[in-house]
Amino acid sequence: MSALPPDFADLEPFADWALPTEGARYGKRLDSTMDELEAFYDAAFPRLEAATAYLEQFGMDALPDDGKRLLWLFAALVTVSFPVEVWRQPRVPDSGASSIEAVAEPAV
């Protein structure tokens, strides 16, 4: 069974990035190598416009399950854009042991 809408079958190998919370997406980023982050970024970034155009046919309150997963996957693209575009490492530089947790976020 596919996790994402059929139009986005090319992103199925990265469907495990479709995580519903910012904390989980950030956790997966920290557990990944730069090669893994770049592979996901390179596959998803060119598909961003197509994905948001596809999702616009549904209201935010009426996203089907595979549409929700597609949105989470692109939220994860936002999360991995920092290491890929600027940091060159999964962690935020100069952040040491500090951590900050999302305690409330809107459900998708």
């Binding site: 910012e22 416009e49 999702l55 616009e56 935010m60 854009s81 600027v86 952040s95 500090s98 947790e101």
Partner: protein, 431 residues
């Protein structure tokens, strides 16, 4: 040569009559001073504990741990629709009244009444004691005498405040002063899409306010957040605010914000170009139903305006951004060198997935910055505590820091003077 006009005195600091000498951070590294602050500041000022959207219906409630003020409060919307607050303590034997698994953890929910886990005493949402288990076993117990202990609670522009000082009759709207009046009417209620972050920070609470009350650090500490050319340019220019204002214990800094949208798309990262969003928020501002900003926002009426940051004493910061969203910071002390930081981002609810991702990028960018700031603070606290150096020069762009520390020390001094004048002289039995 300043880019933006300074007051006639030549500096903001002198304009507001604030001392320009080196400062001591003893007020941030002394356990004894912190103990004084708890009573002098946190039990004597209006504290923002949340928003009215957190108690949307009659019976909605949330709790707040106010360690610095030595209590826990429960905030509830009662059956008449009024927002009230009570000390979170059962009148029978002092058990904490509202909590789930872990009594130290804050909770929220909806209920028709509060029931104590210990012996089943029940209270209405107006605080009245309504049920006592085995009431006939008690001695002349009149339930009317054992309602929940109320805490003064008022709402300003949808922000819920409590004040533990029963002697002070100043309404919260007056306490917020000229700066509060200047932003009244801003449609905060339109921005109900909430992302809240929380972090345990290893520094005095004032030091994190210091970090967010000046932007002098931004081009340097966060240099790597920008593309390389832009980063070099920012460091070369440095930072100057459009305006500062100080009123009573509160203060504000108004800043430019050329990044929403940037003049040159080459200044920003690929994801920002694609999503038209970044640190300053989504570039496409949603309609919030006002033609003009309240007079207290962008007070210089500068076209390059980007953000206003208000420091409402003691521990509430409110940041209003040009593209119609806002951010709050709260700093809840847990000891002289630790506190809990909360950063909450408020947006107009997104109409579609693209807008949701624009907001996600602003949220995650905030988080990446906060991680760098949080880490720096722990290092600062440790070194200040070494007392290897005890005096520090602050520049004119750090005027809000001087004001915050001066104000906090004044509250402590006045508290000590009040105590001296009211403490009765003890006469020992031997004399």
């Amino acid at each position: 040569m300043p880019h933006f006009t300074k007051p006639a005195e030549g500096s903001w600091t002198e304009h507001y009559g604030i001392d320009t000498g080196p400062v001591s951070y003893e007020d941030s590294i002394s356990p004894e001073h912190y103990e004084l602050e708890r009573d002098a500041i946190f039990r004597r000022t209006w504290l923002n504990v949340g928003r009215v959207e957190q108690v949307p219906r009659n019976g909605s409630y949330f709790t707040r741990e106010l360690d610095a003020a030595r209590t826990s409060v429960v905030v509830v919307r009662d059956m008449q629709g009024d927002v009230r607050a009570f000390h979170n303590i059962c009148r029978h034997r002092g058990n904490k009244l509202v909590w789930n698994d872990d009594p130290r953890e804050e909770v929220s929910g909806t209920c028709r009444q509060f029931t104590c886990k210990y012996h089943g005493w029940r209270y209405g949402l107006d605080g009245a004691l309504t049920f006592v288990q085995q009431e006939s076993e008690f001695f002349d117990l009149d339930k009317a005498d054992f309602g929940l202990a109320p805490v003064r609670c008022e709402v300003w522009e949808g922000f819920v405040f409590v004040n533990l000082d029963d002697q002070d009759s100043t309404p919260v709207a007056d306490y917020m002063g000229e700066l509060g009046r200047g932003i009244a009417g801003y449609p905060f209620h339109e921005m109900t899409q909430v992302h809240r972050y929380r972090a345990e920070i290893g520094s005095n609470w004032k030091l994190f306010i210091d970090a967010f009350a000046e932007f002098y650090h931004a081009p340097v500490l966060h240099a790597k957040q920008s593309v390389a050319d832009e980063s070099r340019k920012l460091q070369g220019v440095g930072f100057e605010a459009l305006a500062y204002d100080i009123d009573g214990p509160h203060s504000m800094v108004s800043s430019w914000g050329g990044m929403s949208p940037p003049k040159d798309l080459g200044m920003v990262k690929p994801i920002e170009r694609k999503l038209r969003s970044g640190l300053f928020g989504p570039w496409d501002a949603p309609d919030i139903g006002i033609d003009e900003l309240p007079p207290g926002l962008n007070p210089a009426r500068h076209p390059a305006w980007g953000i206003d940051s208000f420091v409402f004493f003691p521990n509430f910061m409110l940041l209003v951004w040009k593209p119609n969203w806002y951010l709050t910071y709260h700093y809840w002390p847990t000891s002289y060198n630790t506190h809990i930081f909360e950063g909450t981002l408020y947006f107009v609810p997104p109409k579609n997935a693209y807008e949701r991702l624009q907001q996600e990028l602003a949220v995650v960018t905030f988080k990446e910055y906060a991680l760098q700031d949080g880490n720096t603070l722990e290092a600062t606290q440790t070194m200040l505590e070494s007392r290897a150096v005890t005096e520090f020069p602050l520049n004119d762009q750090e005027v809000l820091l001087r004001h915050l520390h001066t104000t906090a020390r004044r509250y402590v001094r006045e508290h000590q003077e009040r105590q001296k004048s009211t403490t009765p002289v003890r006469i020992s039995a031997a004399s």
